[in-house]
Amino acid sequence: MTVTAAPDAPLLQVGTLTKTFGGFTALDNISVDIRKGERFGLIGPNGSGKTTLINCISGALRPQVGSVVFCGEDITQLPPHQRARRGIARSFQIPRPFKSMTVLENLMVGLDFATVGSSLPEEDIAMSILTRMGLASKAGAPTDTLSQVELRKMELARALAVRPKLLISDEAMAGLSSSEVDEVLDLLISLGEEDITIIMIEHIMQAVMRFSERVMCLDAGKIIAIGAPAEVMANKRVQEAYLGT
């Protein structure tokens, strides 16, 4: 089934999503639309369901109820690799590099499998992504020689090798120094300027405020606020949720 989306239709539509683990409800009836080109911040205390939500979007988990529609196509039943090929890429909260490969080879996986036909040689594309992420000098390095910030950047670079329409970054700045946070944030913002829609999960509020056009806050699997960053931050329930943890 091919549905051509109207030009102003949302890139991603999450509809009435519910995900439970045993008797525990991790996501409770989540509905949200992400616009094309949007920089979307996702916040919420630990355990509020942020990672679970992006697992449902990327296909790592299947929700019990609800649907995920991407570019007008219902992808709820598709495995993750099919979603990657359609343009959904993600990084992991705890980095998951391909450990037996070099940094460049990590990127080659996405170029080999997720993208179709390109005029440039794949290695050139991979190198240009690495250069952009400031990792060119590490191209031939094994991943276990990378520093924390380099590993985070490599995860984003590998996600970019999928040539995504939607990039989801799961706490890519956790554990970084403030200058490193700015570095990664600048990278994400510059990616957002070239037509990649980005969902950024982050705890660092300054980063979220600077990055996001819109922010959504989850608490215990429910949306407690969504809207402009300043609005959401000023929301009483959001403040309670954060102070309560």
Binding site: A60, P79, A89, K99, S100, V109, G110, F113
Partner: protein, 321 residues
Amino acid sequence: MMKHRNSIAFWAGVAIFLVAVLSMTQIVRNEYPFFAGYVILQFIALAVAWSILGGYAGYVNFGTNAFFGVGVYTAVALFKATGAPLVVQIAAAAVIGMLLGFGVGLLTLRMRGIFFSIATIALAIIIETFVMNWRFVGGAAGIQLQRPPVTAPFDSYVKMLFFVQAILVVIAVGIARYIQNSRMGRGLQALRDDELAAECTGVPTLKLKLVACMISGALMSAVGAPAAMYLQYADPSSAFNLTYSVSALAMSLIGGTAHWIGPVLGAILLGSTQQFLAVTISSEINVLVLGIMLVLFVVGAPKGIIGLLRPRYRLRAGGKP
């Protein structure tokens, strides 16, 4: 290009190997070297076949004996029913092995590592039990086979089998090398490192594992097919002997699984040691030797012989030395 030159060197090596094997069958009179050599070649092919799933994908298959035995009995049944020539027996075994690989893969490859391994152990037991009760191929007592006349230019059946097994080695190595240098090889390596990350990077992990399981299974069964004619006899407990599983696994791991040459080196080293011990001491000691060497390597050289020979991250072919 480096890659191109590598390929030329590889195929030249293959040609030299086959010519050497063929000349040997024409020059050497004594049959013993062919008897012993056949077993070593058989283990090279088995180890290489095993490493396609067990090494590249990291799914440890304990069911080598199931695939090997299925190959043996495909050949036996076909030979008894139709008198089909050896080549047909081998081809049929490969097809059955591939189907078996598909079936087993579909049922078990969704499970992670250890469950897959356990399922493959069960597989051999189930099939062996079935064959034990299959009267047509001799049941538990086994079956004697009369070799057909040998084909020119060979003057003995064992020499011919030696050459045939050498060709199976070349096929197995050719396929393993092709996979290693292809997109599929990169995908298998990615899923071995991290299956979820591979999926999210676009790798169709289930499909790749399934294809690897089918190719590996087809090769293992093909390698088993000539065994009945080699021994002129087949019985379930030898055809489905767990030693095949242990050997294929140990040889691959000892050689190293990151490159096709690893299982080849491991099989040559262990296979010839075993042959030597079988002649000088007893064949009972083989399993002990396998065990000791495996432990030594796991502790001392976890990346196997090739890990000792080559620096890390140069293992993937594709140009680099």
